[in-house]
Symmetry: C2
Subunit: 331 residues, 2 copies
């Protein structure tokens, strides 16, 4: 199946089909649609099979680059692609809406072998763009429920939330505050649900006043911690939805003259490199970010080689890392 055949069937010239495939602008929308439909119907793929050649490009798509795990994901993807000599391209959307049409055109134009999308909710039509150009993609830690036929990689966030809360319970804490991430993010909700599950299993009723929401950044941890600590009956421990938020909690505690962990225990989530160097070293739930990205990269690479995937949804295990920010509550 060559573009010449597609062109013939569509009643256009070869260059026009080439332009559609490569996302060049000078094609009328109607013509483009017609050609795209035929490309999809015939399952057209470039003759060239990348992967063993020296070329190869994987697009890594972020909504933003502020969060510290962005770097971990980049490193993981980089190490996996370096093995096969591929490069990785960083894209940032600066919006949670997902990429627009022009972005797909650019990606096609640079002949990307595959796309890794980080925590972004793509619409069906956006998946369609990728499929029409037969660009394989994997979603890492999606915000919403991933469509069942979309390949995705995540972490066992629920278990992580459970483990963190259990750890605090075992230390003897009974009032445990929770600072969650955005409630519409799946990964964030799962952590909070793990927290709830741990409490309920221990027979402790969940107090909604102890659950606050923010974004995953330092500032929200700081602000929500002040809210929690201003409660008439403040918590003796706080489980933050991210390490950054946990650092914000540290800050708030210091401003109130509270010592960690003597007066307040704090658990984070992510295990970013600085969690170890913080003071006190932060007890946190490790998320294997590098492995997740590396796995996603390998999945995309396999798909671009036409190999079938064994599993479309993979969750890597989180693990509790106990450091010095947690202790038994003061009697």
């Amino acid at each position: 199946m060559t573009i010449a055949l597609i062109a013939q069937e569509a009643g256009v010239s070869v260059p026009t089909v080439s332009k559609v495939i490569n996302g060049r602008p000078e094609v009328a929308p109607e013509t483009r649609r017609k050609v795209e439909r035929l490309l999809l119907k015939h399952g057209y793929t470039r003759r060239t099979t990348l992967g063993d050649g020296p070329v190869g490009l994987i697009d890594l798509v972020f909504t933003e680059l502020e969060s510290p795990w962005a770097m971990e994901l980049i490193r993981g993807a980089e190490s996996a692609t370096r093995e096969v000599g591929a490069g990785i391209v960083i894209s940032v959307m600066h919006t949670h809406a997902g990429p627009g049409r022009d972005w797909f055109d650019r990606v096609a134009a640079r002949r990307t072998d595959g796309v890794i999308i980080v925590s972004s909710r793509l619409s069906a039509s956006q998946y369609g763009h990728l499929n029409a150009r037969s660009i394989p993609f994997v979603v890492v830690d999606p915000e919403g429920e991933p469509a069942p036929d979309v390949a995705s990689v995540g972490a066992t966030n629920w278990h992580g939330g459970l483990a963190a809360t259990r750890h605090l319970l075992e230390l003897g804490h009974r009032r445990i505050g929770m600072i969650g991430g955005p409630p519409d993010m799946l990964c964030s909700r799962a952590r909070i649900d793990g927290y709830r599950a741990a409490l309920e299993t221990a027979g402790i009723p969940v107090d909604p006043a102890l659950i606050h929401y923010g974004d995953f950044l330092v500032g929200s941890g700081h602000d929500r911690a002040h809210d929690l600590l201003s409660l008439p009956e403040p918590p003796t421990a706080i489980f933050a939805g991210s390490d950054l938020q946990a650092f914000g909690v540290f800050e708030a505690a210091r401003q109130r003259g509270l010592r960690v962990p003597e007066n307040l225990s704090v658990v984070g989530f992510d295990d970013i490199p600085l969690a170890r160097s913080a003071w006190p070293p932060l007890t946190t739930v490790r998320q294997p970010l590098q492995e997740m990205a590396a796995l996603a990269a390998r999945m995309v690479l396999a798909m671009s080689r036409g190999e079938p995937l064994e599993t479309r949804r993979v969750e890597l295990a989180t693990s509790l890392i106990v450091r010095d920010s947690t202790a038994a509550p003061r009697p």
Copy 2:
């Protein structure tokens, strides 16, 4: 000037020339050299002028991704390239030797518009690889003296070192320890020289025992700080060559029961995002990393469009950010 003409003159076929240009492997070294020489001689450039089209790729080359400024540089380059719709590709060498031949081949194969090299000393032959393929490049914060005809972007490290040390002198410190980065890095040497200059201007002799060297990471800051604080006459302030090292100093101070800034003042260098959130908030010298990378990207982009550069070497100003990790020495 088409590749057909080059092929004719070189006595090879058109495909062979194409392969040389695109760094494909199946060309004998001798043939490759011959063709490269002719390409250079005729100043061959692809007919297509990228830049205004939807394509466009800038390679950002790191020696490693561990340092926290890597992300700042990525963000700066990303914001500059996004303006023109170009993408950025991350490469990591994992060695200070600079990229090897296969890397240049890959870069050529993916039709990169330009390369930004982060603090890596390239040999003349490596510059030659890029020139032979007429790939423009800019070096950011080079380790060694950049060759005079190489475009580069840096920061005023010397002034930064001077400002940081002056700040400590003005607070009344007289014994100021210095933990430098690798002594063979130009940026690191400049900071130390600024430190020396400040002391000498103030009429204080430089005590070599107070100057220690490490890499730019947390661990070396920690170890060197212990060395300095074990001195018979320990310093009352430490100027670290990087924020990460400064965090290591914090750690060492805490282990010795020293309070910052009451017993020990600490100044860092870089102003990474976490410097503000650390405890105490770190006084540091801000390096405009994002702006540096953005400028480098714009330079590369301009070069790829064939525009001449006004200046081949640009240094962006550093600025002292005073926070809470510095105070007058205890009387």
